[in-house]
Amino acid sequence: MFQLTLIPISPLTLSSLFPDGADVYSRPKGEQLPILFLAANQIACDDALSVVTKAEDLKLFICKEQSATFQQHLRDHFDVWFADESIPIQNKAAMLSEVVRNALSEEFTRNDTVNIVTASKQLSVQVTKLATDKSLTGADLCQILHHDYGTFTHSGNVAFYCSLIATEMGFLSEDVEDIVTGGLLHDLGKLDIDERILNKPGKLDDFEFRIIREHPLSGFRRLSKSNETTRVQRLMTYQHHERLDGKGYPVGIGSDEIDIASRICTVADVFEAMTSNRSYRNALSYKQTLEIMSENLGTAFDKEVFKCWSSIINNRLSK
């Protein structure tokens, strides 16, 4: 039997300006088979867009074979979309999220540090622009981003979260850009870890855990060989598993030595990991995650950074 391999896309990527370049499918609740929602050469009409806007649990997909075309389409039109003031910021965020996810996926697969750094710097400009637009809330972002587990999805999400925290904390836009790039690069060292360990469904044994704990070190090594990376980006990669009480890794430094950008990355990283589906567990809710994280303030997480992130997310919960 013919079977489609479907990849989820954000419904907000549909545009009334251009055809999507790929057949878009939806899967109605309770149905096994997907149905064609919008053909590749069709421009989404107002009716289709209104369905997308109103249906909160609508899930759209494209087939794997057309993924490259779809991504190329997003990249080709992104600048036009981004400049168009009639397009809501939420839709722009959805498109950018797809572009970031795909660009990182491609570059991480190629495994070339120079290209990954270049792509990350380019992407950080747009992510920062988006974060400085006050009409985009943490609520919007959490809803738009994918929450599956893949190093590139995770890195993209962490970068988006970092952009909101850094902007909210009053960092200058060039510093936010620097931090966003660091967020995109923070797990670069995982490229040196065997996927069988990274994606192991069960509990890691001591040896595997030791291998996993090497990733900040190997990420830093990769970045220190590139003249294109900044101190902030290198430290975010190196220190994002350090804890204020000195019980983190790889060095075990204390609060006075952990850079503020790394503290931001730690909060974003843990929040993203806990609210994403993993092979061995389902995602936790935002509320549960914030509660668990709040029990570790001052020991694992910086109070000010957490407070800032918590206020961004709580806006969502109170809505």
Binding site: D206, F207, R210, L217, F220, R221, S224, K225, R231, R234, Y238, G246, P250, V251, G252, I253, G254, E257
Partner: protein, 141 residues
């Protein structure tokens, strides 16, 4: 003559630098007593056995190395163990992987690359160096 001259200048420089490493009592105790081959564990992937020692050294950055603004150079360190491929030191400050340094000891100069660092206590870091070039002080023929 050359050896003597080198020893004198090494001692003079050492005297100019302040030892800022803060050793805990237990660490100081083990430094006094540790000698011979170092213990190892099944997770270590070392290719050469390490031998415990105790001595002072001066670490400076090589011109090619990157440097973090908060790092001091030169810096007085304790040399704790040696192997054919690496050196273990204790330092009061953090060193970062891939930094390239020169370690001056009484009888040798070592050009090395930082492999890793681990904080043992405040102002006390255990740092692993990979030897790039070992240069003993020339002895008169």
């Amino acid at each position: 003559m050359l050896v003597k001259h080198n020893q004198q200048s090494f001692e003079q420089i050492i005297e100019l630098l302040t030892m800022r490493i803060r050793l805990t009592e237990s660490l100081a105790e083990s430094l006094r007593n540790e000698r011979g081959a170092a213990h190892t564990n099944p997770f270590e992937l070392r290719s050469a056995s390490r031998f415990k020692c105790f001595g002072e050294g001066i670490v400076t950055f090589t011109p090619e190395s990157f440097q973090m603004p908060e790092q001091e150079s030169p810096s007085l360190v304790i040399v704790r163990d040696l192997s054919r491929k690496g050196i273990g030191i204790l330092s009061h400050q953090q060193w970062y992987p891939e930094q390239e340094v020169q370690l001056q000891m009484e009888h040798a100069t070592v050009f090395a690359r930082i492999a890793r660092a681990r904080r043992l206590a405040p102002f006390c870091y255990e740092v692993g160096l990979i030897i790039v070039k070992y240069q003993p002080v020339a002895t008169p023929s």
